[in-house]
Subunit: 844 residues, 2 copies
């Protein structure tokens, strides 16, 4: 028969999954000799059986009775004794810490009679009545669902009982064993509370894990001035600095510290008031940290001078603290470098790379949009790019506020601290450019209206004017009126140290997506080992746009060639800057990708009939699936020819000037058929041979169409490398335009649980990942030496980086600001893989 | 050593691939005892060797010399003899008949001296000089590339030689063996002529097949009144009727019959003028047809009363002739039913189902568009649907001419003979609706401009007015000003007979795509075994549109439900009609698929602010990849709920009224995740159980996204059937919007040979087909009993039908007018498969 209970001092095979986090902590502490009250844990098996059958499994009641008898023997008190009752707390404890579940009921076992016995045996009637009042209130709230606001800490026992009776229609249960049983049931059932379900869905915790229940002999922090209760960290959870960091309250019980009714004292104060207990606390914390080899977050109670630990767990911490603690603990010899790497959440690193809203700042959110580019900024509203430049160059902090931005706004974006748009999604121009620049962007802000004529902005119903100050938080999509205090970015030595360790461990190379010399230099600073995606279309805007438009409007090939001839020197100098910034590292240049109509104004802004006709002819129903990528290069080879020529000349010039030969990789987008790449490779080879026969280069393609993934074997014949364009591959494989999905049905899908992750943020491994797997297999089978990378946004997402590692790619490429995240995630992927291999080797 | 030549009377192992079509025919005829001039065939091996090495392979010259010696011996004449020369013709003959290659050079072996000998030995100087003149001209044109128009049939020998010298800068070669060798080289080289290359690409003939060369002793149809030359069919190639059908010319040689310089006589006339030869011709033709068991197309020459066959080949024929001949030959016991089925080109059947332009009619094409729906029609131009109805109901034939049509034009389409649009592609509204109705449509006509205000139409530069007559040919995309004589559709007994045989053979079921009772009845008439795709969105237009718009504009669910409540009876009655028309056969109803904005007017036609806002909110960048299909049903379940309710009630009503229970299949579109179908299946089951628990039905999904194909195993858990939506699957797998590809880069790709087939017409087997294969495997592995079909347009394309057969699908579904095509193609697929199996069993 299954055993459903283990006492803290009994060895169990089950570990965290069976006993829950709290239970395993209490058992381990007990077995370490740390002072812990006696008690036992009802396993998650019991909870699962309860959920399955709708009642206690056979034998559980008997096991509880046995364990209570064991507790009674240890304590020398009886449960339900009217004179000197044994009291217990009942606490939930799942394997994973989980808000939304019932937490604790204290003082279980008291009733109308034994409250008098407790008063007599402790000589403290106030204490006894306080305990009973707390029991009635907690029991009422958590077991019977009485609303929290019906009770008050100032209630008397009598008043609490009246409320209980009025709300539940029953008397408060007087039988200690009935109290205990109902409390255990309440913990089991809280596993399925709506809040707990939502939390599980968000954090992907399986629904069938269940929770354990801990029954712990009560110790009392509310027995007067030599009693206390508190919470404490072994290091500062904000900074990672060594030394205890916590708070306590004298003469208080359990939840009082966190409930915020009384103001707690810094834990160091205990040194004066409870010196023995404090010394024991410090000694115990040191032992626990040493045992767990990680920063701990503990709960303790001092009962009449005696210290008891009630909980220990790994402490939540800021990114800065996590890095500092990891580096320090490695120096202290507590953990290895590999463990230090594993302990940092790569997603958290963003906090260190961008200014953030001060977590202590107080503010009201006026409107919300999409969290399109992380970081926070405050500044004066400007409504057009020219004003942004004027004011920005004048030293003012400005936020560019637009319906949406276009490439024509680029000079304004450069001078702004951040950008806020009413329209557009995660792939809108503003979002993409801001992410590349590392500036905050809130896009598609619903509560934002802009009247350019009157220079008025309405934000969540408030009217503002150009020059008024707002604050945007691109990490969460919040927009606030006025200035909010910011926390500056904090790349420090610890950051560099841990990432250096990660670099030693990882197999995947990390490159960056960058389109100019400045971004390339920034990427290199962040540790990028090359450019994985240089989009050449961004070079077609600004002062080049009129020439680009001439090219598009030309009626024949000679006309196009003439305009392209004038564009060439621009492209060449762009490439030269990038090659110089990345000297010694590879640079993958993608030839023109977007449909040509993106370079023309909207129809209503056409300046003449020819332009109007051309815009009409180029307009597409589904531009994502239209004449773009290599389809341009095949239909109008002179465009790609000019681009390859510019690359060749730039490489030659840089080599001559610097003596270092650029590592050139020429990439053709949107290939679906091997014949497309065949033709474009021939064109590339011809032009390179003509212009710069001495420059070595490779030629490859994006894999961003399902067909390309399936036919990778044939395509590999003409490719030196593949770069998975997982943005477009996601759009095509899922039939989902990102701009039309996010904020619309995709958001509904995520909220309603149809799918778990946003596939544009975290790679859809089952669908898109399957196509990648097929492409890797077929590509490598056809050409063993083919180089494989990814340059979609997923290249900077830790989960996706791990997947790419498992797939055996050679590199990931992401925006410069995600490079550190990818470096760390790539190292963690290696460590996880080794861990799994060990587990398997050990017969797991 | 490879042998490169076989004489006609020598057995060869190589067959058609080695000897070419003409060569194998001559050899077989020789071996049958049919009168054929002596000669030999230089194999395709020799041609391939020539192409590879750029010269004759070793031994070929010696083999030619041997064979010429053999010919000389048989003829009792010497090649190059000045007195009584042996003359030969040199003729190309690839395995597949192929225009664009050199055809023949006659009279090889004559020179300035032997022309006199020939005159003397035949006693006919005119004939001898005629032969020499022909040789010089043909040699000049085909070997030396002299322009055709430099020569004339009226030239003298002397003038022809002067032209030859002037054009080539050389004297005409006098050595018979040199003439022969250069003629052979010219045949080899004509294999790579640009025209031949284009032809091979179009008809997918491998470039490395090469051509054979036939060297045939000359027989002369130009030796006076007892000589003649002609071409003849064993049955009428237009109607298939029995009896010889051909033409001949007295005293003429070779190309004169087809060159059209003299008017040939019907071959029956020979009965009077050359009775012996004629009788022998009839007898020979009967033998050949019997031998080849197929209608033959022959060339013959009569030399001084003696008949010679120069060529025999399978005759090209119209669809009607093909059917009649097949049925007759089966009745005659000449071929089996299976052979009869195999001989009909399914693509040709279209000719019989629609009126066509009379092939003999003379007309000028004013403009061209896309061949969006087959058939031809003449009628008066009308520029709006109301006028079409008014005039159409009044009995006039009208063609609706529009920029593009919308569902609001549907009543006008019904009353028109055909539709012509300036905009839109193969999937435009006009195209889809016209195909469904079996009416001709030319879409996206570039040379068409419409001025609605003045009621003027410009067509290829000509100005026309409403009421002027035009003719459109939807099978080719041609538009003609004025009326053109049409050939009526010809579904006759032969058609029914052959399709009946096909039905006995095929394994695939054939269903139709139809959205209403009339089309369903038409489909059934054409032999559809069910409806594979009933699109419900077409039922949302017309007088229902205002209610649909109310539904979309409603601000909350109750508002939507109220409008849906009013739509329900309409949907129900639509379904009742279809169920009745298809009694006893399955009907697959697809729930609403298109994005909601398709039901709203363009922004500029919005009638109020609410509508304007809603249109804005619903507008999508890439509607193909937006909120459509099951994404609608999941976000607004009340829409699908209403549709399922209407299906349930219609099924119940029809069962009650007719006593036959409809076979209902409910299909959810655009599923990408199993969880989507899980939810929609639950909804479907709930509503069906509520409304019509007694009605049996199945519930399934389209597979039209790459992700759905890859995850077919999981999706199958909730699906009774899959229907491959290969239109959308092609668009997503290839990243190609049909509307943006056809007439644009896709047309360029096809013309430029980047890809071979239009993937929207013929399934892209390597890409889309691969996804289907994966889905079939995974779907069947998860659920053995799952029913599999296809409802994309490929369901009516013969090549794609064959692929679906090979994949093991259960059915194909196509537009009603393609049902006969699919029935035949499905039967042919079975026969081809059996043929391959036999071939493999025989060790092939």
């Amino acid at each position: 028969m299954t055993r459903y209970i283990y006492a803290f001092d009994e060895a169990s095979e089950g570990g965290r999954e069976l006993l829950g986090g709290k239970g395993i902590g209490l058992a381990e502490m007990t077995q370490l000799g740390v002072p812990v009250p006696a008690g036992f844990t009802i396993t998650t098996d019991a909870c699962r059986a309860y959920m399955r059958d709708g009642g206690f499994p056979a034998g559980l009641d008997e096991e509880i009775a046995d364990q209570i008898a064991r507790l009674e023997e240890k304590a020398g008190k009886r449960f339900g004794d009217p004179e000197d009752p044994l009291l217990v707390s009942v606490r939930s404890g799942a394997a994973v810490s989980m808000p939304g579940m019932m937490d604790s009921i204290l003082n279980v076992g008291l009733n109308d009679v034994s409250v008098g016995g407790l008063a007599r045996s402790t000589g403290n009637e106030g204490f006894a009545r306080d305990c009973y009042r707390r029991l009635i209130q907690m029991f009422g709230e958590t077991v019977d669902g009485v609303s929290h606001d019906r009770f008050s800490p100032d209630d008397t026992v009598e008043h609490a009982r009246e409320v209980y009776v009025a709300e539940t229609g029953r008397d408060f249960p007087q039988d200690a064993r009935e109290q205990l049983r109902r409390a255990i049931v309440a913990v089991f059932e809280s596993w399925n509370s709506p809040r707990a379900q939502v939390y599980r869905r968000t954090y992907e915790i399986p629904d069938d894990m269940g929770t354990a229940v801990n029954v712990v002999q009560m110790v009392f922090g509310n027995k007067g001035d030599t009693s206390a209760t508190g919470v404490c960290f072994t290091r500062n959870p904000s900074t990672g600095e060594q030394g205890v960091y916590g708070e306590y309250l004298v003469n208080a019980q359990g939840e009082d510290v966190v409930a915020g009714i009384r103001t707690p004292q810094p834990v160091e104060e205990m040194a004066k008031r409870l010196p023995d207990a404090y010394e024991q606390l410090l000694e115990t914390m040191a032992r626990l940290e040493h045992h767990y080899r990680d920063m701990q977050d503990i709960e303790f109670t001092v009962e009449e001078g005696h210290l008891y630990l009630l909980q220990t767990r790994s402490a939540k911490r800021t990114a800065a603290a996590a890095l500092k603690a990891a580096v320090d603990m490695t120096a202290e010899g507590l953990i290895s470098r590999e463990e230090a790497i594993s302990r940092i959440d790569p997603g958290q690193l963003d906090q260190l790379l961008h200014p953030m809203l001060d977590p202590k700042a107080d503010f009201e959110v006026a409107a919300r949009g999409l969290n399109a580019s992380p970081g926070a900024a405050s500044g004066k509203i400007v409504l057009d790019a020219d004003t942004a430049v004027e004011r920005g160059k004048g030293g003012e902090s400005v936020i560019l506020v637009r319906w949406e931005t276009t490439p024509d706004d680029i000079h304004g974006l450069i001078q702004s601290k951040g950008v806020l748009t009413a329209h557009g999604g995660m792939t809108s121009h503003a979002a993409v450019v801001a992410r590349g620049m590392g500036k905050p962007c809130v896009a598609g802000c619903e509560g934002l209206e802009i009247d350019v004529a009157t220079k008025e902005v309405t934000l969540g119903g408030h009217t503002l004017h150009e020059g008024d100050v707002i604050t945007i938080d691109g990490g969460t999509g919040r927009v606030i009126i006025g200035e909010v205090r910011l926390v500056p970015p904090a790349i420090n030595e610890d950051f560099e140290t841990v990432l250096g360790w990660a670099d030693d461990v990882r197999r995947l190379k990390v490159r960056a997506n960058a389109d100019n010399g400045v971004d390339s230099a920034k990427a290199r600073e962040f540790g990028a080992q090359g450019i994985g995606l240089c989009r050449t279309e961004h070079m077609f805007f600004g002062d080049r746009l009129p020439v680009v438009q001439e090219m598009i409007l030309a009626s024949d090939e000679p006309g196009r060639r003439e305009a392209l001839e004038r564009l060439l020197p621009f492209q060449q100098s762009d490439f030269e800057e990038i090659f110089e910034a990345m000297a010694g590292l590879p640079v993958t240049i993608r030839l023109l990708d977007p449909p040509l109509h993106e370079f023309l104004p909207p129809l209503e802004e056409a300046t003449d009939e020819r332009m109007r006709n051309r815009i009409k002819a180029l307009t597409e129903s589904n531009p994502m699936l239209g004449t773009r990528g290599c389809r341009l290069g095949i239909q109008w080879p002179e465009i790609y020819e000019m681009q390859v020529r510019a690359i060749a000349r730039a490489a030659k010039a840089v080599q001559k000037r610097t003596g270092t030969e650029p590592l050139v990789e020429i990439m053709h987008p949107l290939v679906g058929f091997a014949e497309e790449l065949h033709r474009l490779r021939t064109l590339t080879e011809q032009v390179m041979a003509e212009e710069a026969p001495e420059i070595e280069y490779t030629c490859g393609t994006m894999i961003e169409l399902p067909r390309a993934a399936l036919r990778a074997g044939e395509i590999a014949e003409y490719a030196d490398f593949f770069s998975f364009g997982t943005n477009d591959l996601t759009q095509t494989a899922l039939g989902m335009s990102r701009d039309d999905a996010e904020g619309k049905f995709l958001t509904f899908y995520l909220e309603d649980g149809v799918i778990e992750h946003n596939p544009f943020e975290t790679l859809d491994q089952d669908g898109v990942g399957e196509l990648m797997r097929i492409a890797v297999e077929r590509g490598r089978a056809a050409k063993e030496t083919i180089k494989l990378g990814i340059c979609g946004e997923h290249g900077g997402d830790p989960k996706s980086v791990e997947f790419c590692h498992g797939l055996g790619l050679d590199y990931v490429s992401c925006s410069p600001y995600r490079v550190p995240v990818a470096r760390l995630a790539a190292a963690q992927a290696v460590l996880k893989e080794a861990h799994r291999a060990e587990y398997v080797a050990a017969g797991g």
